[in-house]
């Protein structure tokens, strides 16, 4: 039985605790608050180019569409998960493959 997740094609969501732990472990963070498309997508691609396989890049953003199109933009270069604060702040976790 397909779920709604197959349909919206959105990355898996993290719970608050995991999101915070991973955020503290990040190899690189990018502050994308106040940014608009497509700059976070471009920055994510550039940021990943400078990381090693297995490294974690985290973007903090307040731009809703980024939670889907940043993971789409990096494609197979990284595994993506997201965290939604519930009040308009999002983090996108990209683990480089």
């Amino acid at each position: 039985m397909p779920s709604i997740d197959d349909v919206v094609d959105a990355p898996d969501e993290l719970d608050d605790e995991t999101a915070q732990e991973l955020y503290e472990d990040a190899d690189r963070t990018q502050d994308m608050m106040g940014e608009v498309c497509p700059y976070p997508q471009v920055e994510a691609q550039k940021g990943l180019q400078q990381l090693e396989s297995g490294d974690l890049l985290v973007q903090e953003t307040d731009h809703v569409p980024c939670t889907e199109n940043v993971p789409k933009a990096v494609g197979d270069d990284a595994e993506a998960t997201v965290w939604r604060s519930g009040d308009g702040v999002y983090r996108i976790y990209l683990r480089k493959n």
């Binding site: 349909v7 608009v36 308009g88």
Partner: protein, 389 residues
Amino acid sequence: MVSQLLVAAVVGLGIGACLQKGRFCFVNAFRDLFAYKDTRVTKGVIAAVLVTMVFWGTAYQFGYFQGFWTPGWGLTGIVGGFVFGVGMTYAGACASGTLYRAGEGYVQYWLTLLFMGVGYVAFVVAFPSLQSTYFASLTFGEGVSLFEISPVPAGLLAIGVAIVATLAYATVLGRQHTGGSERATAASARPATIVGTPVVGLQRLAAGTRSYAAGVLDAWADPIAASKRPWDPRSAALGISVFALIWFTSVSIVGVTGPEARWSGYLLSLAGVDAGSFSYWGSVLFRGAGVGVTVDMVMIAFLVLGSALAAYWSGDFSLRMPRKRRLPNAVLGGFAMGAGSRLAPGCNIGNIYSGLAELSVHSFIATIGIVAGVYVMTHWIYREVGCAI
């Protein structure tokens, strides 16, 4: 009048909510197609256009309509559309995207709206000389909707065009699919035939639609939770088409920058400017009826409110302050969108959504201009990392 205002409120709230829930962004639809071959939003836009076309064609055939919007056709669609396409890609939001994000609390897009307003005003001031030079030399013929001139009944024509468009899409999909499997099984692969490619594509389209329908059914199990989650752009497309049908039968086609340009004239008239004395506001936009609030102006105001309510319900509403280095995007992008939408005339909603759905000749041309503008600007923004197409 009261009933029209009620329709404006319902349609505005509904379309605003659908745009927000589906993150229905025309820039995303084309930019990410070119940059990453990501067709998620593109599929939503295609679905919205085709479904609306069938709805409107059928309503027109049976006499349930108020009128089409068919400006004269010519190269203005290419020039203005291109300026608009460049502007919306730089701004990061189309005309409808700017409105729904203004509702989500983005100060960046309030600024974009403001500078779209500056673009409208600059156009209005320049209009008398543009009319005798730019429009006179680049407009080649009277505007027309194919629904009005086709010997085929409009409803059937719409269904026919939708089938042809679906087959064309299936062919592209099938070609990608067979292209991939040919590499994988080179020894046993048969060359794709003219008939085979669309069939493979249709099978994939059917499978995609089935999994989409199953997902929607699944979501019905917990409608409140599903209403707070992001929606598939195709769901938003269906919702928008239903509200657009209500609007078409009772008011007109759906437009955004036309009503916005009227707002700019109306707001300036409140500030003491004699907006009616400018020919573009007075005789073109308000058609000599005096500068005031029209029903489509009310509709787009409710669109912003609908998006705000949907965003609040989904936990996506917040007052977002822009970055200093993104101000040029709002200022220049907004201005290019405002001016470009008047030069075309029409924005992504007037031309790509409503214009294609009503089979307007002008909008076919303007759509090419807008998409070309997005293509060029996307390649410039992604110059460091490269584009897929």
